[in-house]
């Protein structure tokens, strides 16, 4: 009896990521954001989600990927975290995939140190790899070192 789990998937810089379906509250198109001055740089701003104020985290920044090409609107993957809902900004939403436990493997050594902490592992799908994102870690907004924050 194979163990399967469901993942909500999305794309960032052509990479396929997945988060556990049960931690996802909803997925929604780009919403108007209010910037938060002096907040950690990974915080893009606040969005109004039906009366709930949700913090938006720039996942590209968080994973230390290049910034998105200008003019591209991000999609919101709203996840439940310890301290309330957080919206992860991603490029594109993928399908809900059901994956088998047997395809799971720990993250490769080649991943950079800081990012590695946020990837729980990899599922080897038929035609590609799905990186499993640690939702809690991704939602952490700890202040990036002052020197790297531009005017933050």
């Amino acid at each position: 009896m194979a163990q399967t789990s469901q993942f909500c998937t999305f794309y960032l810089e052509k990479l396929l990521f997945g988060v556990e379906l049960k931690s996802v509250q909803e997925v929604i198109r780009s919403l108007e954001m209010t910037r938060v001055p002096l907040a950690p740089t990974v915080v893009s701003g606040f969005i109004n989600l039906r009366g709930q104020i949700v913090t938006a985290v720039d996942l590209r920044r968080r994973l230390e990927l290049d910034p998105a090409p200008p003019g591209q609107l991000a999609m919101n993957v709203v996840v439940r975290s310890e301290d309330g809902a957080v919206s992860l900004l991603v490029d594109e939403i993928g399908d809900v995939l059901e994956v088998d436990q047997s395809t799971f493997e720990l993250p490769p050594e080649t991943l950079r140190g800081s990012v590695r902490g946020m990837i729980l592992g990899v599922h080897k799908l038929n035609d590609r790899l799905m990186l499993v994102l640690d939702t809690e870690k991704a939602c952490q907004m700890a202040q990036v070192a002052e020197s790297t924050a531009a005017g933050g």
Partner: protein, 803 residues
């Protein structure tokens, strides 16, 4: 199995009864002859015992029962109330409380062993104690028989207001029913007879029907004494839910109102108005339901004070003023522990031992006063003691030892600042931890908890006389009126609580209204210097602090925080709105400038500014402030009565670090010139100013001794001097500039304490702002100064006006 609702009610009621017992026992200890108090205590314990029996909590019943016996002895004066007895009774209250806790969690009494407590209580009964009692209670856990109850409650001569609530007891007392008959009836019930005691007795012929009816009536009325208020118990969770809904309603109303402004339909507008009124009233009503008098938490303190005082062998009396002051329930919950800690602290560390107090000429009994009142939109809670006070030197030393401050800071700090060091983490944990003030709650935790709900705490003390800790907290948290402003294209909300007034500078006023003092921009507001903070700069949205003009005007929002005023320069000012405060995520709380966020009428999110955090960050509320700049405001205007006698003085630092002043009357402007702009005209320093040549009179030269003056005069301005601070004076139709070391402030003072001058060019010495200040003789200085002041020609005057 008894329904959980009944058990829940039992628990709630019993906890309340126990709290009341705490208070009553402590009160009784002070007035042992208070019969009413004794009767009240008896009644309370009896009620608890009765209900326990009914619900089958036998262990609880057993403990309560022994306590009741003790009280009976007291009531019959067979026993006197000694501290030992009071302590034992209070221990019983604690034990009952613990058992209730167990019941709350596990729905049953659990495996407790209270034999020690029961033995102690039993021992305290006089030797005349009924031996049968001790025998019965030697095995706790066995249900006490009905026999014991009847035998041990002496009903003879019980005053009417001590009417017991058992029907059997009433019948015994008033209808002459014998204990034996009652016992028989009780036995029958135990065997399964479903009838009531009264019925069984009547059947046996042991009681008359009329007596039973009478007894029932008495029982009902005595129960009725337990207040049938016009109050109702409501689950707090339900109130929270309603509160949230009202919050959402307020937001939606805001949004509807926004639309209403656009639609010109009269009927629709009328409906919107109604909606507005109703929502406001509903909101006020809901807020009120959650308000509770602070007396609710204070009622626990007499017991705490008693226990702590006993523990440290001190004598302390507690007084409370303002018990009725109301606070929101969540705030009450949040400050309960901090206040408790402050009270314990006062008794433990503040108040001295009786012998020491007498030696110092004080009463043996220390006084602890709790005061609560509303002021300036906030609730103030003061905890004062007349104890030993804080020793600034010792605190300073300890702080240095623990490296909380540097030696340089230590030498600069004023006494109030030193006192506030006790709130630093790392300070309180160092104090001798007695088992009384332990529990890991230190002064720093008190401060953190108070600040978490948006409050402030500070301490004042006089060595040898006493200490006062003051906690200030906002009235409610959830829905507040706020001023909406714009900065950098985004909107921000400023709580009206901190708002004093709005100032708008246009045209010429912009340049004239903003002066520089020591590199910091200020605005003179009715004679006072108001430090300015540029919001765009604090939020790092713009780099320079140049006046942010919008539509040819500069908008300044005058705010106050922590007793200090400052002006916030913003781009635009909009309306005041009621906003719902949504707290920030834990992780974002470190951005001290923001107090929370809210959703505006158009659905966009806006951030709420934390005025105190903003002020601290901008440095207008610095740690190291001189007393001169200390303006005490709580949002109330200064009493104008004494204002007539006061004069405005400009304070500055003169040569040799001397404190000097001039009357503001002659002061034209405060200016700061970069050294490069100062030129030499002969031996006179001058600068170009508003189309004139302004002579700069160096005070250090004028006040210099005659023989050194000539040499000093020749000194040109050197680059290492930094920007020159100048008081531009208007005297005799001319403008002159007075060079000073440092401009301090403008204050109003009566300045009537004066003494003769000590050197030339000084009128006299006065006391301004509680410090000795030399009043400069301006005309003499101007006359004595070398150099030629240029009298303005009509052409120059015209040029100046045109600027």
């Amino acid at each position: 199995m008894i329904e959980s609702d009944i058990v829940k009610d039992f628990l709630v009621e019993s906890y309340e009864n126990l709290d009341r017992l705490d208070r009553e026992l402590v009160g009784l200890e002070k007035n042992p002859d208070d019969r009413d108090a004794l009767a009240s205590v008896f009644r309370t314990i009896h009620t608890i015992k009765g209900t326990c029996g009914f619900l089958g909590f036998n262990k609880l019943e057993a403990v309560a029962h022994v306590g009741e016996n003790l009280l009976t002895r007291l009531r019959d004066r067979q026993l006197t109330l000694t501290p030992e007895v009071t302590t034992a009774l209070l221990s019983m209250v604690d034990a009952v409380r613990q058992m209730l806790g167990q019941i709350e969690v596990a729905r049953q009494e659990g495996e407790r062993d209270d034999s020690v407590l029961i033995a102690t209580l039993t021992r305290l009964l006089q030797p005349a104690a009924v031996r049968a009692q001790s025998e019965v209670f030697a095995a706790p856990g066995s249900a006490p028989e009905a026999v014991v109850f009847l035998k041990d409650v002496p009903l003879e001569g019980m005053p009417l207001n001590d009417v017991p609530l058992n029907i059997g007891d009433i019948l015994m007392q008033r209808a002459g029913v014998t204990p034996a008959a009652l016992l028989f009836a009780a036995e029958k019930q135990k065997e399964g007879d479903p009838r009531r005691i009264g019925e069984i007795l009547v059947e046996q012929g042991a009681a008359r029907p009329a007596d039973v009816v009478e007894a029932l009536r008495i029982q009902q009325s005595s129960r009725g004494i337990a207040v049938s208020d016009s109050t109702i118990r409501v689950d707090v969770g339900l109130l929270d839910k309603v509160m949230n809904l009202v919050g959402e309603l307020v937001l939606t109303r805001n949004q509807v109102l926004q639309f209403a402004n656009r639609i010109k339909d009269a009927e629709f507008l009328a409906d919107c108005q109604r909606l507005n009124l109703i929502t406001t009233e509903l909101q006020e009503g809901i807020v009120k339901t959650r308000m509770q008098p602070i007396g609710n938490i204070w009622s626990h303190f007499p017991r705490t004070v008693r226990d702590v005082a006993l523990g440290c062998a001190k004598e302390v009396a507690i007084e409370m003023e303002g018990k009725e002051t109301e606070l929101d329930k969540t705030i009450i919950e949040a400050i309960k522990d901090p206040l408790m800690h402050l009270v314990r602290n006062s008794v433990d560390h503040g108040i001295e031992l009786p012998e020491d107090r007498v030696k110092a000429g004080k009463d043996r009994t220390g006084r602890l006063t709790l005061r609560a009142f509303h002021e300036g939109g906030q609730v103030n809670i003061e905890i004062s003691d007349d104890g030993a006070g804080l020793n600034a030197e010792r605190i300073r030393k300890k702080a240095l030892e623990r490296a909380l401050i540097t030696a340089e800071q230590a030498s600069r700090m004023s006494e109030p600042e030193i006192f506030n060091l006790i709130f630093q983490p790392g300070f309180s944990t160092a104090e001798k931890v007695t088992n009384v003030s332990g529990r890991g709650v230190g002064m720093d935790v008190v401060k953190t908890n108070v600040e978490k709900i948006g409050g402030t705490v500070d301490v004042q003390s006089t060595l040898g006389l006493g200490t006062t800790v003051r906690v200030r907290i906002p009235l409610t948290l959830a829905i507040i009126p706020a001023l909406i402003v714009t900065c950098g294209g985004d909107r921000y909300a400023i709580p009206q609580l901190n708002l004093l007034e709005l100032v708008r500078l246009t045209g010429n006023q912009i340049r004239a209204g903003i002066e520089m003092v020591h590199g910091a921009p200020v605005h003179r507001l009715r004679g006072r210097l108001l430090p300015l903070v540029y919001l765009s700069r604090e939020l790092k949205l713009a780099e320079d602090s140049s006046a942010t003009e919008r539509d040819g005007a500069v908008n300044i929002v005058v705010l106050h925080a922590d007793g200090r005023q400052f002006g916030l320069v913003v781009e635009q000012i909009h309306d005041t709105e009621e906003i719902v405060v949504k707290p920030l995520r834990k992780q974002l709380k470190t951005v001290k400038i923001f107090a929370g966020s809210t959703i505006m009428g158009d659905g966009k999110v806006a951030l709420i500014l934390d005025v105190l955090g903003l002020a601290q960050r901008a440095g207008v509320v610095t740690e190291n402030r001189s007393r001169v700049l200390n303006e005490k405001t709580t949002g109330a205007r200064e009493p104008s009565g004494a204002a007539a006698d006061k004069q405005a003085f400009l304070l500055f630092v003169g040569p040799g670090n001397s404190r000097m002043a001039i009357p503001v009357g002659t002061l034209e402007r405060l200016e700061e010139f970069p050294v490069e702009q100062v030129e030499m005209s002969g031996s006179q320093w001058v600068t170009q100013y508003r189309g004139q040549i302004l002579p700069l009179i160096r005070l250090n030269v004028v006040l210099e001794e005659r023989r050194n003056r000539l040499r000093a005069l020749q000194l040109p301005p050197t680059l290492d001097l930094g920007p020159i601070q100048v008081l531009v004076l208007h005297h005799d139709g001319r403008l002159s500039g007075l060079v000073v070391e440092r401009i301090l402030d403008i204050v109003e003072d009566r300045a009537d304490v004066r003494s003769a001058a000590t050197r030339p060019f000084i009128l006299h010495s006065v006391v301004i702002g509680d410090r000795v200040t030399e009043l400069l003789d301006v005309p003499a200085v101007l006359r004595g100064a070398e150099g030629n002041a240029v009298r303005p020609t009509p052409a120059m005057k015209a040029a100046e006006v045109a600027n």
